[in-house]
């Protein structure tokens, strides 16, 4: 059964208004997807939230993907959902390993706050303009970013205290 929710309307609207910011689009398995210029991510997200035809009230999910060996290496993936229009859109932006930074969308949707902290924690992508970019799941003493493909699976780091019991 195919799910009708990933409609093509939001994608068509994005192409119409911000076609110059799009790198590529596809609708594989019915999921409308737009790969956009990472430098314009905040502007595009604000448009997708405020435009009356698409009105994405919700940023449902934000995560990163490590395409080790490709350049730009990382991809930040946003899943948007419109409650009023009942449609979805996936927006992706590539982030190079050298800069490893992209603008934060937490000013557009506060739900991005914790998910960007998680992406920073596990992939080491900096979200510029984030109000409080701390690690979310791991402890502050943890070294490295474990979901990167070049981080070993057995790379456990024990959290041990000092003799005085301090961390």
């Amino acid at each position: 059964m195919t799910r009708a929710a990933f409609g093509s309307l939001p994608l068509a609207r994005l192409v119409e208004v911000h076609g110059d910011a799009l790198v590529s689009t596809h609708a594989q398995h019915g999921d409308a997807t737009a790969l956009v210029e990472s430098t314009r991510i905040v502007e595009l997200m604000a448009f997708l939230r405020d435009d009356e035809q698409v009105s994405f009230e919700m940023l449902v999910d934000l995560c990163a993907v490590d395409h080790l060996g490709e350049e730009p290496r990382f991809e930040v993936v946003y899943h948007l959902y419109s409650v009023s229009k009942n449609h979805r859109l996936r927006v992706k932006a590539r982030v190079s390993e050298v800069s490893c930074a992209i603008d934060s969308v937490s000013s557009v949707w506060p739900s991005a706050n914790w998910m960007e902290r998680e992406a920073w924690d596990l992939y080491g992508i900096r979200f510029t303009g984030h109000p409080d970019l701390r690690r979310l799941l791991l402890n502050e003493e943890f070294e490295g970013h474990p979901l990167r493909k070049d981080y070993p699976k057995e790379g456990r780091q024990l959290l041990v205290g000092t003799e005085r019991g301090e961390r």
Binding site: R3, W114, L136, P146
Partner: protein, 405 residues
């Protein structure tokens, strides 16, 4: 709990007598392993920092190291109150990548088991929320009720908690012969117990006073913070993926979506209570549909995800190779990406999968409703009394396994 007075500047840059209270990570009044750093002005919460991650096991990293099938038991351990729903989300995303069409019988079985799991989850939420408010009796009604649900899960899946029941393109096995009778008997008793539960708590003055008007999150804030599930519906938004993006058999069953008015803890409690009754309705409809369909296949007949018949394996080279490859390697999923979401007991549970065409997932992202629902906790309790944090956190139903992955 440990306390310390801060004579230095506090978070707002003022010099005053605010106290920092450190609550958790393992506190008897919270179900879930999470630490709160709370800035208190007397008994009033000025600010709150929720620190998660104590149950982080590296779910995504583990999934990327195994085959597609080996990820399913890990999904059981995300939300251990309703494991089949997490199985379902993951398998639906893989099926989307593979383009599999499942037999109708499988969908009805999945719907049935998913709704039973939802009842079990809501019972845990409502029961423990009462317990944390020092109400022991309703909690025990809830536990007895949940035992009956888990008996049914055991009869169907072979396990009570980590069911590992749903497979890519099917389910583990068909309904056992005595199941419908056992299910109907248990449903009757569950309804009775839910009635008792309702009688003891819902109009109890102390309980209502602790819940009404506390932990309020407005509709607008719910949407901005990505809050889904009963919390969002309690705020009056009738969003339920079972209705809005019907998957499995939800477009063929009759059920209602209860919503609240103001989005406080009492609304959340009432929404969950009513959702259990609606789930029981769905279970009954699934049962009669399954009886009508009779015995038959519950799996797809796709050689990529199914092993050949044993008789062929023992006598034919090709099938032997196919079986060997199926066991040692598992299916190769075509390269691509897909997102599939189910309405879990806590809200939208989504799986975003990326495949590079090999026998191991390249990326398995779980969109955890618990984490997204917990993030606006500070907004819910700011300016409220410390005691209001307990029912608010209880009815959030943050599940560490899913939140921290």
């Amino acid at each position: 709990m440990s306390e310390g007075a801060t004579s230095e500047q506090n978070a707002r840059g003022q010099l005053d007598e605010h106290r920092i209270l450190s609550m958790g990570p393992s506190h008897p009044a919270t179900h879930g392993t999470v630490k709160f750093l709370i800035e208190l002005d007397g008994e009033t919460i000025v600010s709150l920092d929720a620190q998660v991650g104590y149950l982080h096991r590296g779910f995504e990293k583990e999934c990327e190291a195994g085959s597609w099938y080996q990820a399913i038991p890990y999904t059981d351990r995300l939300n251990y109150n309703s494991a089949p729903l997490a199985n379902l989300g993951f398998c639906m995303a893989v099926e989307k990548l593979l383009g599999l069409e499942r037999p109708e019988r499988c969908d009805w079985l999945r719907t049935l088991i998913g709704e039973l799991a939802r009842v079990g989850d809501h019972l845990t939420r409502c029961g423990t929320a009462c317990l944390e408010l020092q109400a022991m009796t309703p909690f025990l009604y809830g536990v007895e009720c949940r035992e009956l649900v888990w008996d049914l899960l055991e009869a169907m899946c072979g396990a009570r908690v980590t069911s590992n029941y749903i497979r890519i393109g099917g389910v583990k096995h068909a309904m056992p012969s005595g199941f419908p009778a056992q299910c109907r008997a248990n449903l009757a008793r569950i309804r009775e117990l839910l009635g008792d539960f309702d009688d003891v708590v819902t109009r109890n003055r102390i309980f209502v006073d602790r819940l009404r008007g506390t932990g309020v999150l407005s509709q607008r804030d719910c949407l901005r913070y990505g809050v889904t599930g009963p919390l969002l519906r309690a705020a009056g938004v009738p969003l339920d993926l079972r209705k809005d993006e019907p998957y499995l058999c939800y477009d063929r069953v009759d059920f209602d979506v209860p919503i609240g008015e103001v989005g406080d803890n009492y609304d959340r409690f009432l929404v969950c209570l009513e959702e259990m009754h609606q789930s029981l309705r769905i279970v009954e409809q699934c049962l009669s549909q399954l009886e009508k369909l009779g015995p038959g296949p519950v799996d797809v007949l796709d050689p990529r995800v199914r092993w050949p018949a044993k008789g062929r394996v023992f006598n034919h080279m090709e099938e032997l190779i196919q079986q060997f490859k199926g066991v040692t390697e598992g299916p190769c999923v075509p390269a691509g990406e897909a997102y599939a979401a189910v309405e879990s007991a806590n809200g939208e549970l989504g799986f975003y999968l990326v495949s590079d065409g090999s026998a191991a997932p390249w990326k398995v992202r779980c969109r955890p409703p618990s984490l997204l629902n917990l993030a606006p906790l500070e907004k819910m309790v700011q300016g409220a009394l410390l005691a209001d944090l307990i029912p608010t956190f209880g009815l959030l139903n943050m599940v560490g396994g899913e939140c921290d992955r």
